[in-house]
């Protein structure tokens, strides 16, 4: 790295500051509302609204789609185009605590398949299923952006990793996930 990398003290020398900028170049919008109109603002919120409904109901049933439509001023069809598109929006029950296991490249190279297999054994379900008590669901998901923590998973609002993949470690992990979810909901 050359000495040029060090910023000169006091900024760039030899610069004569121009006059303060004109208002024509940068019109002020102190009262702007960010959205062009109310309809656009409502529609922009659709994923947030669906996410909240999913937190309350566990998954997005048809009634949730209708409620979201009323809230965002959309037809159920328009809502479903969005609801069926995203990895985190669930149109089917996936347990009160869905566990999303990353199976993309960096996690696969670090034991994602073993993690998924161990979770399946510990929970007694296959990926895509829900435990008999309806508590846990197990789902694969694509890269969680935590490849430095591979293998990792998403549970509640936390990405956990790197996860050990022996059944004993995974049993403790599942307990920890369950306890944290219980604490977050103020139940149990």
């Amino acid at each position: 790295m050359s000495a040029a990398a060090t910023p000169p003290p006091g900024g760039v020398p030899g610069r004569t500051p121009p006059a303060p900028t004109s208002t024509a170049a940068a019109p002020a919008h102190p009262q702007r509302a960010l959205w062009p109109d109310d309809k656009a603002k409502k529609r922009e919120r659709i994923v947030d609204v669906l996410w909240e409904l999913q937190q309350q109901r566990g998954f997005l049933d048809d009634e949730a789609i209708r409620i979201a439509g009323r809230e965002c001023d959309l037809t159920p069809h328009e809502v479903d185009e969005v609801a069926t598109f995203y990895n985190l929006l669930l149109r089917k029950p996936a347990g009160r605590i869905p566990i999303f296991v990353c199976d993309s490249i960096s996690c696969e190279l670090n034991g994602a398949a073993a993690l998924m297999a161990s979770l399946a054994r510990v929970l007694g379900i296959a990926p895509g299923e829900v435990t008999a008590d309806g508590r846990f669901g197990l789902l694969p998901i694509v890269c969680l952006g935590h490849c430095d923590k591979a293998p990792c998973l998403l549970a509640g609002e936390r990405v956990l990793g790197p996860c050990a993949t022996d059944d004993d470690d995974v049993r403790n992990l599942v307990k920890e996930i369950g306890d944290a979810a219980g604490a977050a909901r103020g139940t149990r």
């Binding site: 994923v47 960096s106 190279l109 694509v142 890269c143 490849c147």
Partner: protein, 433 residues
């Protein structure tokens, strides 16, 4: 090298506060920009700095800002800056670290960019999986508003701006800038036809610029210390700035580090403890899932846009994935293709139908059910998917296959002659998808 993007280091467990960001020189550039520079001057400075987009394509940022000088779309209606924090390309985790450690550098960069392009409003599109990161970002935005660094009449000038965070639902295609705009508006996130480009018709049909998190985070440094300084940060003559380099996969200490752009893979990998378990290096995917493999002979290539193109790959996101001698590149490519097939938005047929066919052929090769003709079939398929598809997702999917054929012919052949993967049998994998 003094870190630039991650200068105000966070303490463990939380992001740099406004106070610590300011202690490291933060928000001086915004003050300079608003009080001493015209938008035209700032755009020229970004052009001179050589800054190129960090979202994957490496488009010159100054040229992109220049598109916004057009007289059209200056009618008092919205003009929007959208920060792309979707970050879903496998192997990529760099923007996350900016949000986690130094969100103010992004906010400052967005405010300067908005002023330079005469934007009325700015938005950040972030994947929902970044729960903790979004909390830190929102906290930083609240700090900035309280300190009059955002809102009406920023720092007592005529310039006003607010930044609103939009949280997505998790889908790779939303990172493609026109799909992102549809997602943002609350529509199904299929890409849009280009032209018109977002600079002409973007968010809600208004002039829009979409930038990656890291690109915007480079802006305060350019403005505070100048274009020449920014260029001088690079290790190679054609480069500019620093780069967030991430290493994952078969790496001893996977992590993200900020280094001068043009640092070699040998140096970066060395700093991360080398290949996991001291094993031999087989190959590297240099910049996320849609870049082509390189091999140990390329270890001394500068990790920068042009030098990597010369060796048949791309810098992409600069977050590299390492394969050791124990990792089968066919299996790795199969994993990447499963990703692309799952994340295809389904809008156009070559991608929607072609990618699953590619997955099927590669899986047969891994299992030992492929014939010799299938090798050509795979090669041909991935050559025609990209140019016949509607957006760049499918062309990106073809890149790792291109690298596989360029460097690992012998391993491909061995899968046919040896009736399956020669890399030792894996424990029976769960079929999930």
């Amino acid at each position: 090298m003094p870190p630039v993007l991650l200068a105000a280091r966070a303490d463990a467990g939380h992001a740099a506060t406004l106070a610590s960001y300011r202690d490291a020189g933060g928000y001086r550039a915004l003050d300079t920009a608003l009080r001493q520079r015209t938008p035209e001057e700032l755009i020229q400075q970004v052009k001179d700095s050589g800054l190129r987009g960090r979202g994957g394509a490496g488009f010159p940022s100054g040229a992109k800002w220049g598109f916004m000088l057009a007289p059209e779309g200056r009618d008092g209606g919205g003009r929007y800056l959208v920060c792309n924090a979707d970050e879903m390309e496998p192997g990529t985790f760099k923007d996350r670290v900016i949000l986690e450690q130094n969100p103010h550098v992004l906010i400052e960069g967005m405010a300067i960019a908005s002023y330079a392009m005469s934007m009325t409003d700015a938005f950040i599109f972030v994947r929902r999986e970044y729960f903790e990161q979004t909390r830190r970002l929102e906290a930083a935005l609240a700090e900035a508003r309280d300190a009059k660094l955002l809102g009406a009449n920023i720092l007592g000038t005529e310039f006003s701006l607010d930044i609103h965070v939009h949280r997505s639902g998790g889908r790779y295609i939303c990172g493609e800038e026109t799909a992102l705009l549809n997602a943002f508006e609350g529509r199904r996130a299929n890409p849009r036809a280009k032209p018109p480009y977002p600079a002409v018709s973007g968010l809600w049909g208004r002039p829009t610029t979409v930038h990656n998190v890291e690109t915007l985070a480079c802006v305060p440094g350019v403005v505070e210390h100048g274009a020449a300084w920014f260029k001088g940060l690079a290790k190679n003559p054609e480069g500019a700035g620093t780069k967030l380099y991430g290493g994952s996969g078969a790496v001893e200490h996977p992590q993200l580090i900020e280094r001068p752009i043009g640092t070699t893979l040998r140096e970066l990998l060395g700093e991360m403890g080398g290949v996991k378990g001291g094993r031999k290096l087989l190959g590297v995917i240099p910049g996320g899932a849609s870049t082509a493999f390189i091999t140990p002979e390329h270890l001394d290539t500068p990790m920068d846009f042009d030098p990597l193109v010369k060796v048949g790959t791309r810098l992409g996101t600069g977050t590299f994935i390492v394969l050791s001698e124990n990792d089968c590149p066919v299996k790795a490519t199969l994993n990447l293709q499963r990703f692309f097939a799952r994340e295809s938005c389904g809008f156009c047929t070559p991608c929607r139908d072609g990618l699953p066919y590619g997955v099927d052929l590669l899986a047969r090769l891994e299992r030992g059910e492929a014939q010799r003709e299938d090798l050509d079939r795979i090669d041909h398929l991935f050559q025609i998917i990209g140019p016949n598809s509607f957006c760049a997702l499918a062309a990106g999917a073809a890149e790792p296959v291109k690298g596989l054929y360029a460097h690992f012919r012998d391993i491909l052949e061995a899968h046919v002659t040896g009736r399956g993967c020669p890399f030792g049998r894996e424990p029976a994998e769960l079929a999930h998808a």
